[in-house]
Subunit: 330 residues, 2 copies
């Protein structure tokens, strides 16, 4: 019996969410549907141009940890905030969801990371992330006992952006595998894949990572192809399990020669795609650590993703466990 089902590691971020039109993205050179990395100066400029906003704890892996806990799974999280009000908000929200979170924060500068998320009328989100205190995450933040006692350690590809987080991840992977656990990652964003393609492929091919999450664009970017079937074949060969999401077309799960197609759930209204991939990973990993079939894992992922995109903000405000029970999935 392990202490945790899923340990998630990522950039600890508070989201600042506002609506805008497509012209705003063009006028401000924001790449639509992507994660745009920005520095403090640009953060200030964009914020001065942003409309009235809502704040919500976010961060890709943070959303996944919160999602696993929301399903009733036992989750832990490593990620760095500063000792400031946004940091308090982040720590409160993830702990209030029942996630183990003890990463030490050190001082007030750099401040807690924030991502200004502009949601356009089509529900698509375009993120502008100032990494702030996330740049300080390093191997000293690895709680070895937590890694050793978590069935799956999951991390976001975004962690290759700050300077030392990858060292923490390699240390986590070493401890996890030494204890017979598994390691999982999300490719995060197709531009992130472009930045770190070689390293991500190494992580997979060396067996450092067992389970890979990607969306269609990320899988295509990883293999620099426009042929989705080619990308699927290659990703299946490069890791033990791959879960590839395809927006409204659901997801496909691959393990060796096995392949499972899962449908997306029906939506009443697409409000805000923020957190879709994170919550797919949450549902999948919740199912996986409960020893569910890969097909059911995919269904749990699609359920959680479908719920989060029908609300504002990256973490479902409803009970995922209740939703899964209602649909007969658990």
């Amino acid at each position: 019996m392990t202490r945790f089902d899923v340990l998630a590691v990522g950039n600890a971020i508070v989201d600042i969410i506002s609506r805008c039109d497509d012209q705003f993205l063009i006028d401000n050179s924001i790449t639509k549907a992507a994660m745009n990395l920005i520095d403090a100066e640009r953060a200030e400029l964009l914020y001065s141009r942003m409309g009235p906003a809502l704040e919500a704890s976010g961060g890709s892996a943070g959303n996944t940890a919160a999602g696993v806990a929301n399903f009733g799974g036992r989750a832990a999280y490593f990620g760095k905030v500063a000792e400031d009000q946004l940091g308090e908000i982040f720590a409160h929200d993830i702990r209030a969801q029942g996630v183990h979170y003890q990463t030490e924060s050190k001082g007030t500068f750099p401040p807690t990371a924030r991502s200004m998320i502009f949601v356009t009328e089509d529900g698509e989100r375009s993120m502008n992330t100032y990494l702030g205190a996330c740049v300080e995450l390093g191997p000293e933040d690895v709680e070895a006992d937590v890694v050793a006692d978590a069935k799956v350690t999951y991390f976001e590809g975004y962690l290759w952006d700050p300077p030392r987080a990858k060292e923490a991840i390699r240390e986590c992977a070493r401890i996890a595998h030494a204890n017979g656990r598994e390691v999982s990652m999300t490719l995060s964003d197709s531009f992130c894949v472009d930045r770190y393609r070689g390293e991500f492929l190494d992580l997979m091919r060396s067996g450092t990572v067992d389970i890979v999450f990607a969306n269609r664009e990320e899988a295509l970017a990883l293999y620099e192809t426009r042929d989705f079937e080619e990308a699927l074949t290659k990703i299946a060969a490069d890791c033990k399990i791959a879960a590839v999401t395809m927006s409204e077309h659901g997801a496909v799960i691959l393990r060796g020669n096995e392949r499972y197609r899962v449908d997306a759930i029906e939506l009443k209204e697409l409000v805000d795609t923020t957190g879709a991939g994170d919550l797919f990973a949450a549902g999948f990993l919740y199912g996986y650590t409960q020893d569910r079939s890969l097909e059911d894992c995919g269904k749990l992922g699609c359920l959680a993703a479908g719920i989060v995109i029908q609300q504002i903000g990256p973490r479902p405000t409803v009970s995922l466990a209740d939703a899964a029970r209602e649909t007969g999935l658990i």
Copy 2:
């Protein structure tokens, strides 16, 4: 031609919003549907017991100023935040809505006010407000030129809670009337009325306040009666114009012997009543400063209130001007 339609003065607050059940309110001795004043220690305790939350700029009069601007009116605001991240959020959001906001913030302690708002399944909100930096608002924060150049200066009864804000309000009223402008207030909360009944009645009967906003419970509390008709007759005698809201039963507007009944709008779903009264005042004052009939002012108030209670958070994320145009009100 004045520079502003409405100047609003109030406690500058960031809302921290979460859902809970009725038992949580009972277990934590929170008076339901009321504004509970709390100190820093209780704020910390309640936050530790609160579930994952969303943050949104709030404050009763701040919501009204934002609402007036959202309708297309020219709004200004006085209210005190600290030099901290919540203060930056508050200032950004009200300015991003187009409201003039220049109240000076001084230092980081006490921190920016926050209200922990627990929303129960019935959509009712129960607020727990730590006043923080709001206690520092005083007559030195009155921008005399703004008061002199605003058609209506509106303030919240809640301002009687911090120590020196009432001095600022008396100064505002003096300047406003010396310049031929009008002064308006909301009674804010029936418990607030209980705390300051005599002073509120003095403000009305002395002519310091011309236009009074109240909901049913506040009007009853003001005159210590359970007879609503008695309360309406008395409030009409005590001020030039009274606008009394009655939740799903709409509102009644009184001026001398004139009386206008306005219906509430039909709701798809009641989500969160936070901001209902504030947005009623916004719609009413927007219409009033555009020289609309009292009946139309009431309709604009009911429209804005009906919109804000169908979303989470105290400030409409949709365009009130568009909504008013769609319903033919402007």
